[in-house]
């Protein structure tokens, strides 16, 4: 048996860094079967316990290995409503693949579960006609889902499959949440998102775009008209460092920059009407996946030099390794142990430089990570004409401030039971980033999946956490 994963073809860095086409090109059938053969079909299948939605991983891989692709796809889809998305953006290295028995063998890499999931989902899209009809509405209860990101779509799909009428409300003009505004085309093509959203529509879910719940649709009406509500509005408010110069022209939040690029297709300006600044020298602050996405997008827009500026080191960096390596290959430069302290502008209010200070790691902070401390007198300046702050997000208050009785935690996120999603308001559930703070697509989907089960139990009268004793 081969001890390494079957490699996946990719666009060469020199070419891809100037286009928005997908970086990873996927497996051929032959490559997929070869990789599937590396799976030991071990009886304990620890990989499944590493998957937030509990996919029967050995099951779908076995069918793939046997060339029964349609059956493989059916298994996958019965657990995961968005397999082509998950196959691309899940951090498999810390989930399913981290527990793979093959990966525990000396010098051996785990089975490339994510790549196989992607292959099967893409194969099905190309080869299977979804003969599926929408599931008949067999239940009288109606469910409203607020937000059409990964958690909302998952809840909606699972409840539609159980026969509920489900209405999803989305503030933007396109459904998908972070999948359409946040994750760039080169990592997750938007036609893949559309394909998977269309599947959910085919299940009978109605998606209402351009509806801001709390504004367009008042909370009172929602509570009156629906038997259960799921809130999956994500963590959408950008945080800023708050240092001098934050409001200079050319200083963006990652949310704004990525929304302009991904949702509004500003990289195709002026064919598309939404403009974007194209910096020559760009600094991205932060080192999570969002920072990688922003940095690589800036490069593709035509930046000559892109820095990622992070106050800790490579070891503490929260981004996925794969994304980090892709960024390195494309020529992104990393400034570790560096913290910007102010942005400097020109007479017209455009950012022209940033002043930074060097950091050292001393002791442990409250989050359990090494604590970065500024080194006195180490200040230095870098010339930049664009800055993107990708330092995280807070809860979006638009809905929360309009929702009487909905309890929030000390960080301003919704207080919801982590197993069931139940909130302080009867019949109202929540999940995804609006409960946990920024996390991953699959974690949000996992929360959606669990909430769907408990919404069903609640509406069936089998379970009621709000019952007065």
């Amino acid at each position: 048996m081969k001890n390494k994963k079957t490699p996946m073809r990719e666009q060469p860095p020199e070419i891809r860094k100037r286009n928005f086409e997908e970086v990873a090109l996927g497996y051929s059938l032959e490559e997929a079967v070869t990789e599937a053969q590396r799976c030991l079909q071990c009886p304990t299948h620890p990989c499944v316990s590493g998957c937030p939605v509990g996919i029967d991983i050995p099951g779908f891989i076995k069918k793939l290995k046997e060339g029964k692709l349609e059956e493989s796809y059916r298994i996958l889809k019965s657990y995961n409503n968005l397999p082509a998305i998950c196959g691309r953006v899940c951090p498999q290295e810390v989930q399913c693949e981290s527990r793979c028995v093959v990966g525990k063998i000396k010098d051996s890499e785990p089975v490339a579960i994510g790549r196989l999931e992607r292959f099967v989902a893409d194969w099905a899209a190309d080869n299977l006609k979804e003969e599926m009809e929408s599931s008949p509405i067999s239940r009288k209860e109606k469910v409203a889902v607020v937000g059409s990101g990964p958690s909302g779509l998952t809840v909606a799909a699972d409840l539609a499959k159980l026969g509920y009428q489900v209405d999803v409300f989305e503030a933007f003009h396109k459904p998908g949440g972070v999948l359409v505004y946040g994750i760039p085309e080169f990592r997750l093509p938007k036609k893949i998102v559309e394909r998977e959203v269309n599947y959910i529509r085919k299940l009978g879910v109605k998606i209402h775009t351009n509806v801001v719940v709390g504004k367009t649709l008042k909370v009172g009406r929602l509570l009156n008209e629906y038997d259960a509500i799921f809130i999956g509005t994500g963590a959408g408010t950008p945080r800023f460092m708050g240092i001098p110069g934050t409001n200079l022209n050319g200083v963006y939040s990652a949310n704004e920059f990525l929304t302009r690029v991904n949702l509004m297709k500003a990289y195709l300006f002026p064919e598309y009407d939404t403009p974007i600044r194209v910096g020559k020298t760009v600094a991205v602050i932060g080192a999570g996946n969002t920072a990688m996405d922003a940095a690589r997008s800036a490069l593709r827009l035509g930046a000559k030099k892109v820095y990622i500026v992070y106050r800790r080191t490579e070891r503490e960096m929260p981004a996925r390794r794969e994304e980090y390596h892709h960024a390195l290959e494309e020529g992104i430069e990393f400034l570790w142990l560096t913290l910007p302290v102010r942005y400097l502008g020109d007479a017209n209010g455009n950012v022209r430089a940033m002043e930074c200070v060097k950091m050292e790691l001393k002791g442990i902070d409250r989050s359990g990570r090494p604590k970065p401390v500024p080194i006195e007198g180490s200040n230095f300046s870098i010339e930049v004409d664009m800055v993107i702050e990708a330092i995280g997000q807070g809860p979006n208050r638009v809905l929360l401030s309009e929702f009487p009785g909905l309890e929030l935690n000390e960080r301003g996120y919704i207080k919801a039971d982590k197993d069931t999603g139940a909130t302080s308001v009867r019949g109202v559930f929540a999940g995804g980033d609006i409960v946990t703070g920024a996390a991953t697509v699959i974690e949000a989907m996992g929360a959606g999946k669990r909430a769907a089960q408990f919404i069903h139990a609640y509406l069936s009268g089998e379970w009621d956490p709000w019952k007065q004793e």
Binding site: G242, T246, P270
Partner: protein
């Protein structure tokens, strides 16, 4: 939904639309706005809600042509549909009984001011209005304001009313009478000088900001302004703020952020439109 029920040209570059949207007509309050996108490749732009007719399921939006998107919008006809309209967004104006209120409207800002003026009147205030524009032909909605308030007109060229700028009229009125509060809506530079004038006479002032926006729901931070030394998002914390607290010079610079791209986009559009004619 989003069908243009009625369209009228108010001035050379200002178009008045009534749009079918029962929910916006029903839910919107004075001071709020919508974000629209007119075609698949279009940008999202904020526009204020100038009036509503809830019983007929329509709201009014008055649009000044300043670039490609507003120009394209101005070319839409009755019966056409606007692709995306989302709202009402932002916080409503703080309407209550203040006593004597001075309202100052400039250009297309006059339309934004209208529902605020009506609500203030309804709340029992004595309302005085200054309306300003380049010339007589660009002055809009005068009659509507005259029905609810005493109106003073100001034009740059003196073609109607007083010759000068709105702050000249403010100066005269402030010297003659006492006002409890003031509202100014119009070009950012006008609102800045209205604020300075109100400050000079110690009258508090509300302004309605119109910075660059993308989503309008507090998710991107494009519309951030410094208010009382804090970062605020105009879309969810505003759009109205106390003028005395706004960092005007920063806002004016932020508004020019995409000047070059906007110019390029508009030129390409005008050239293509010209070729077709």
């Amino acid at each position: 939904m989003n069908e243009i029920v009625k369209k009228e040209k108010l001035a050379g570059d200002i178009v008045d639309f009534w749009i079918r949207s029962p929910v916006i007509a029903k839910e919107s309050q004075p001071g709020q706005f919508v974000v629209v996108r007119i075609h698949e490749k279009g940008e999202r732009i904020p526009l204020t809600i100038a009036d509503t007719k809830p019983s007929e399921g329509m709201f009014r939006m008055v649009v000044k042509v300043v670039g490609k998107t507003t120009h394209q919008l101005s070319l839409l006809e009755e019966g056409d549909t606007i692709l995306d309209v989302v709202g009402p967004l932002g916080n409503p104006s703080e309407i209550r009984h203040y006593g004597s209120v001075l309202l100052v409207g400039g250009g297309v800002g006059i339309a934004t001011l209208y529902p605020i003026a009506r609500a203030l009147k309804k709340a029992g205030n004595q309302v005085t209005t200054i309306l300003g524009a380049r010339s007589k032909d660009y002055l809009i909605m005068v009659r509507e304001f005259e029905e609810i308030s005493e109106v003073f007109l100001v034009t740059d060229d003196g073609s109607v009313g007083m010759k000068g700028v709105v702050t000249d009229a403010m100066d005269i009125l402030f010297k003659k009478r006492n006002f409890d509060i003031c509202w100014a809506v119009g070009p950012t530079i006008m609102m800045k000088f209205c604020t300075l004038k109100a400050k000079e006479f110690g009258v508090p002032i509300w302004v309605s900001l119109n910075p660059i926006m993308v989503d309008g729901t507090g998710m991107c931070g494009a519309c951030r302004v410094t208010v009382a030394n804090q970062i605020k998002f105009a879309c969810v914390d505003g759009p109205e703020f106390r003028g005395e607290e706004v960092d005007w010079d920063e806002l004016l610079k932020r508004l020019s952020q995409y000047k070059e791209q906007e110019k390029l986009s508009y030129e390409i559009f005008l050239k293509a439109a010209g070729d077709k004619q």
